[in-house]
Symmetry: C2
Subunit: 643 residues, 2 copies
């Protein structure tokens, strides 16, 4: 049996015995070697590059690898067949898919402000910030030969006396800890209670001087996963982290993931990728950073799209993909951490923000809560820019939602130098129309060199290239310059940073394929907005505010987003970036029982519009795949620079 040796840039390696004839990408997947494959290995995206070092590998040549790159050893793993022992290098390139987990620095006020604001607005609507968890201090009599009541009865009676709960139950974890915690603390302890109805469940017993109870909010995006640990009493953020969704190697979009999940052991594989390989490592990192143990997290809320929460729950998602597109659940109220093996208290209930359609999920219902559009008389638009773009339009009387498939471009996916908004990402850019030289802002410390482009950076670059007349409304390069290059196939690109000025070993560029991908993404969003508003016989002029959410980053330049025709051409002050509303929504749901109920309420009252069956949507989409639009009258404010 031949051996495949995967070498990594950090010097480590993974050697796998295979059968001759196996596909290299499949081998990598089986061995848990992360190679980007947004198209799930069908040869279309050109992302799954590895560098051939030595041995026997039979690779088809495709347009994705230039002659020069091929000579350097670059191969697409999805079109490579192992024919004998072979050694390849798996590049650790910064990309949208790089799943290195990042624990956020909570000393940054900016990070915290967005959660505070989301909570404050919801609170101002009258929603009370109380949850079912509390800590009750108990001082019990120590047992004697004349008072031999069992420990659990002693505890239950003390709780009944102190907290007024009629029926008290203990979780198994609390029962197991009870005799030791009682005796180590001379029967003076804190009990962590979850109250409900006339009863209470004892989740934990702690020394009397320890009263910290924590919750967890998780946003499972198709591309990016974000999470916060919070203090359930004060709402204080204790840790925050984000990471690439580990499922990415099974496909960039939900459809490819679902297909992968239907294969033998697929459900388990996809569930493992999100829980064991993504959420648990994030959790462990956050717990270290916050100095707490995972079993001190007693409650958890997940906001994610319908496919993501099905795959997270390990439930067959295939019916979502096939007519008549049926989810297993919109709402589920009986999942516990032990069911899914999440590194928190095993009895922690997992609240999944409710779905309202096969393609409008809990990320949107949770996000709608913090968008606050449900609490205002005027008509507002809420847009969540993710791999799926979801749009909600309405006011305190009605709300309508729809979803469109934007692809991963807003999070830097499907873009050759795309990446998430982490260190080295160009998040903002201007281009001088005369010199065609760029000026940009990079995420990270001072002196950080550019690695790639995140969503907000891509919008800026495309808007600026268009404004300066460097690209046409179709996104093709129409000017020459030292930064404008063309490859052997004639595909034009613009160099933002040459290799010597970049952090990596190559130029940071944007090419016509990237621009085309991004135009389709923005076109999907704009046409969805138009289709939905038109269906109500409304007009974009009636939109009072646009709340933009998503991982695209706070740096999003709304003027540029209008310039490329992503958002309707209305007054710029009507646009508001509200951050990751899926995560802040989940954060509110963890903290407040009423906020959780409100999200269910919103879900029950929101109408879902299926765009794919709307006869006008396709025409709207095709018309929107221009800069800014085929109908320039829709974008009166957009003008190109006269040079």
């Amino acid at each position: 049996m031949p051996n495949v040796t995967f070498k990594f840039e950090d010097g480590t390696a993974n050697v796998v015995a295979v059968t001759a004839g196996e596909n290299l990408l499949e081998v990598a997947r089986k061995a848990n070697v992360a190679i980007d494959a947004p198209c799930s290995g069908n040869g279309s995206c050109g992302k799954c590059k590895v560098k051939y070092i030595s041995g026997e590998l039979d690779t088809k040549k495709t347009r994705h690898i230039s002659e020069e790159s091929f000579a350097e050893g670059w191969r697409l793993s999805c079109v490579s067949t192992v024919t004998g022992d072979v050694e390849v290098l798996v590049p650790d390139i910064a990309s949208a898919y790089k799943s290195r987990m990042k624990v956020a620095d909570l000393s940054s006020k900016e990070e915290i402000a967005i959660f505070d604001r989301a909570k404050k607005e919801v609170e101002e609507s009258g929603i009370v910030f109380e949850n079912d968890f509390s800590v009750t201090e108990l001082k019990m009599e120590e047992p004697t030969l004349d008072d031999t009541m069992p420990d659990n009865e002693r505890l239950i009676r003390a709780i009944q006396a102190a907290a007024g709960a009629e029926k008290v139950k203990l979780t198994y974890q609390a029962l197991k800890k009870l005799p030791d915690v009682l005796r180590e603390n001379r029967f003076h302890i804190n009990a962590v209670l979850r109250k409900g109805g006339h009863g209470a469940v004892v989740y934990d017993v702690l020394p009397a001087n320890d009263a910290k109870i924590c919750g967890l909010a998780v946003d499972i995006g198709t591309t990016t996963v974000s999470a916060v640990i919070l203090d359930m009493t004060t709402g204080e953020l204790l840790a925050k982290a984000s990471a690439g969704n580990g499922q990415i190697r099974y496909g960039a979009d939900v459809i490819n993931r679902i297909i992968e999940s239907t294969k033998d052991g697929g459900k388990e594989k996809l569930q493992k990728a999100i829980i064991e390989e993504t959420i648990n490592p994030m959790l462990d990192g956050m717990c270290r950073s916050a100095g707490i143990r995972g079993d001190r997290i007693y409650h958890m809320c997940v906001a994610s799209n319908t496919t993501m929460n099905h795959l997270f729950a390990g439930v067959n998602a295939d019916p979502l993909r096939m007519e008549p597109y049926i989810p297993t659940f919109f709402e589920t109220d009986n999942l516990s951490a032990y069911d899914l093996g999440i590194h928190v208290h095993p009895d922690a209930k997992i609240v999944i923000a409710p779905n309202i359609g096969s393609y409008v999920g809990g990320d949107i219902t949770a996000g709608t809560l913090v968008s606050m559009i449900w609490n205002k008389p005027e008509f507002n638009l809420f847009i969540d820019l993710g791999t799926n773009g979801e749009i909600v339009f309405g006011n305190s009387d009605f709300m309508m939602s729809c979803a469109c498939s934007a692809g991963p471009a807003f999070e830097g996916g499907d873009i050759s130098c795309g990446m998430r908004a982490t260190d080295g990402a160009i998040e903002a850019c201007t281009i001088d129309a005369q010199t065609m030289e760029p000026t940009f802002k990079i995420v990270g410390d001072e002196g950080q060199k550019p690695v790639g482009l995140c969503g907000s950076g891509i919008i800026d670059v495309i808007a600026e290239l268009f404004r300066c007349g460097i690209i046409s409304p179709k996104g093709k390069f129409i000017k020459e310059g030292r930064r404008v290059l063309h490859d052997q196939y004639g595909i034009g690109s613009y160099v933002l940073a040459f290799q010597e000025d970049a952090a990596g070993h190559k130029d940071v560029v944007i090419n016509e394929v990237d621009i085309d991908n991004f135009i389709r993404a923005k076109g999907a969003i704009f046409s969805a907005i138009c289709t939905m508003i038109r269906s109500l016989d409304f007009d974009v002029s009636m939109i009072e505010n646009v709340y933009v959410a998503g991982g695209i980053g706070s740096g999003i330049n709304m003027k540029n987003a209008v310039t490329i025709g992503m958002f309707p051409d209305i007054e710029l002050e009507k646009f508001h970036y509200i951050g990751n509303s899926s995560l802040t929504g989940a954060y509110n749901m963890v903290l407040s029982r009423q906020a959780e109920e409100k999200v269910y309420d919103l879900a029950h009252n929101m109408t879902y519009m299926e765009l794919s069956t709307d006869p006008g949507y396709m025409d709207e989409f095709v018309a929107a795949c221009f800069l800014p639009h085929t109908n320039t009258a829709l974008f009166p404010s957009v003008v190109q620079e006269e040079v």
Copy 2:
């Protein structure tokens, strides 16, 4: 590092690397090699024999190994130190501790009758045999593009319509199976429901032609574990098994087990020994025999003494052993199979029959149910003969209970040729007073040679030896004969079967040490009965019936039990053997919600008498350590044969 090679009689071996100086018994325990050690390795019981083959082993000589046996290679592992590579044989002797699991033959009517009888008597008292589980057949409309309700809502509405439940929840297991089971059966399925209050929990979804729902009853004895799988609808027994309690290698009695559990990782080790090494293998064997999967068992009831159920639950049992002797729980209502890792449906609730004292546990409360003494006006005595002997006395107005430490003798422990009542056990015996020759009945097929003695056999042998004047009231040999031998220390023994007539490689004997152990066991029982009845100012003549339960076996000869002074000398027809009442009690609790409630009721109304603090108990015990008693006036019917 030296290697210890444990060889087994079946030819297999286990090689373990150790540090020179390690104790051989400890090495065996760490390597999960089962060596009997009822005294937990303190050198007093002489049970942990292994046969030295070759290599370096430093063993202290003790009275337990004769010069001759030592020369043959026999060593006590607890006093042996590994000093270099060594090879030993671990004897697979039939013994009380042999943990080979036995799945019972349910074609035997006798096996089934005892459960039927126990159920019938409880049912005749008015207790209704209904439990919370049921199967509801559901025929749902298949979804269409115009009816896109999620699977779980579709199911919940169908259940609400069919079963009248208001609030319906799904277990995670049911949710996971739902989309596939629905589609594979065209939305025509059976739902397994647990009803309670106005709601129902869906435990499972099955094809419409499958309606089998199962329950599990387990009796965890200190020495022996027994279990049955039953059909929750019909009560039919589907499988039955028994095995030695895997904890036995950590001590024969509860005190040694508790001490072992307080060591580092001890709780986990003891819990693993009972669950992973005893109950789960029994379950797997029973499931194979019944042709069902473990996840079709939706409910479980455990009856066991207080220490056993603490160790089963993985809860610190040490406070039970130390003044003021406080259990962690008498009752617990929130344990699930997932908490303990039992191979049944993970959401199966584990009902533990309630304890009423540190030494009167759920085995007795469950057993009291089927003893029926709570339902009769006359005064009756219920005796459970186990490693702990427990006694309940009373009638429909009041009940009092107490416990005494009998040791494992009734189950064949602490007896050199003792064994459980499995194949090869002498279960009944008579001795000819003239010839001193024995005649016996052996468990097993015709032609089965004797292996050892089970509890009922030991009673018979001692009673017959005493009746024939072969042993004195103190249990010492006072007659000569070809079957009466004395060893180098002068310890007498009686040979029941010489090696050539026995199944094993040695004589089947009973010696003075065995008799002494058994006299102490029976003395503990008799003195407990006397102490409790005296404390009520009652007299044994007021006892209407004596219900004897325990693993001692249906072969117990009540006349002989009276002859040795184990039971009071009242009319023989008042004695009734009711089998393993702990298991039949648990069986009733699984089948009937009202039976479960009745056991709680009995527990709440039963008084517990602590014998160890009763000033008269010790004197009673000393007086009872004779055959039949120092006060022969208490046993007028007992006469010795005149030869």
